[in-house]
Amino acid sequence: MLHIAALLTMLAALVAGSSALAGDGRTPRPVIEPATAGTQCVEPSDVMRRYHMRFLEHQRDDTVRGGVRGAKYSLKDCIDCHASAKNASVARAETNFCVSCHSYAAVRIDCFECHTSKSPKLAQGATK
């Protein structure tokens, strides 16, 4: 009995320790910042979760090589809706939209080594 209680306390401490994670089941889930209120994603959430990288990769070739700008899956539009209200970014802090999930899944993203992760719409009001 004592053993079980100790185990439970340990588990509770573990969950509390990783504040970026949440979830009621056995599997902790990342806390994802909600998009700017009143915006609608270009695809349903489950489609975006699975295929966003394909959409972005396909369109980036059209943009860089073909000069087609402002099409449906624009990284700029992603950033505009998903940038944090706190720091106007999707990738600056651990809690920001892209990073929260990618650090959870241990998938490194290179996008923001070249692309800015900040939204100019939010940047004026947000602190650094």
Partner: protein, 244 residues
């Protein structure tokens, strides 16, 4: 309406018909909020080029360089290895002592040697004649820098932050003048350097479509002699010089 634009509208209409009324409204609102339909893209009917009148280019003036740095988010070059997309050079004919001052940047060759040598296909020429680096596939080997006879390309050695939204740049890639491609794609008809030069009252840089016989650049090229840098290489550069 362009074919692409028509397809976009047709697709939006179809989506509206299939989905529930509530979703349809959101879809339309989204399409409108995302900056309208996509731009038409680079056209092979156009060939962007530049004419630089060296007789009007003032010695010591670096307005074009400053404008380029501001537009593209480059820090002013302090070391020889710092990225620089446009640079001013002073030349002097030893025998006569005649001097000239001129900007040199990527010459946007019709037959670009940088594209020939690129091992990954990152260096490429767009349909409208602009020579670019696709940073997604650039491995930073710098072969193109060696192939370019104009020393137009730079390598980014240091990590960068605070890039411009329209001009993504990063460490480990080669880069060069893009003829302000982000502006052209959005319908602008000039580059930052040409704009700054005319605003400063020099008017030494004329930017335009070499394929359009009525454009200012074509008229000027027809009226007066112009020079290609290293014409012996027969690269057919899109940047021409007058008064050299």
């Amino acid at each position: 309406m362009s074919r692409r634009g028509f397809l976009g509208v047709a697709a939006a209409g179809l989506a509206g018909a299939v989905l529930a009324p509530g979703i349809q409204l959101i879809e339309i609102a989204q399409a409108a909020s995302a900056g309208g339909p996509a731009s038409a893209g680079a056209s092979a009917k156009v060939r962007w080029g530049m004419l630089i009148d060296t007789t009007k280019c003032a010695e010591g003036c670096t307005d074009c360089v400053t404008a380029c740095n501001t537009e593209n988010g480059l820090a002013p070059a302090t070391r020889s290895t710092d990225p620089q997309w446009i640079r001013k050079i002073e030349i002097k004919e030893i025998k006569t002592g005649r001097t000239a001052s001129l900007p040199v940047m990527c010459q946007h060759c019709a037959d670009p040697p940088c594209v020939d040598v690129c091992p990954t296909g990152a260096s490429f020429k767009r349909a409208d004649g602009i020579v670019l680096v696709d940073r997604h596939s650039c491995i930073g080997c710098r072969y193109c820098m060696m192939a370019c006879p104009y020393k137009a390309r730079s390598f980014v050695h240091e990590p960068l932050t605070e890039q411009k939204r329209d001009v993504p740049r990063g460490k480990g890639c080669v880069e060069s003048c893009t003829l302000c491609v982000h502006r052209l794609d959005q319908g602008d008809k000039t580059t930052a350097c040409a704009e700054a030069c005319s605003q400063a009252g020099h008017g030494a840089i004329v930017f335009g479509d070499l394929n359009d016989p009525a454009s200012e650049i074509s008229l000027r090229l027809r009226a007066a002699t112009s020079t290609q840098l290293r014409a012996d290489l027969r690269l057919d550069p899109g940047v021409r010089y007058q008064g050299l």
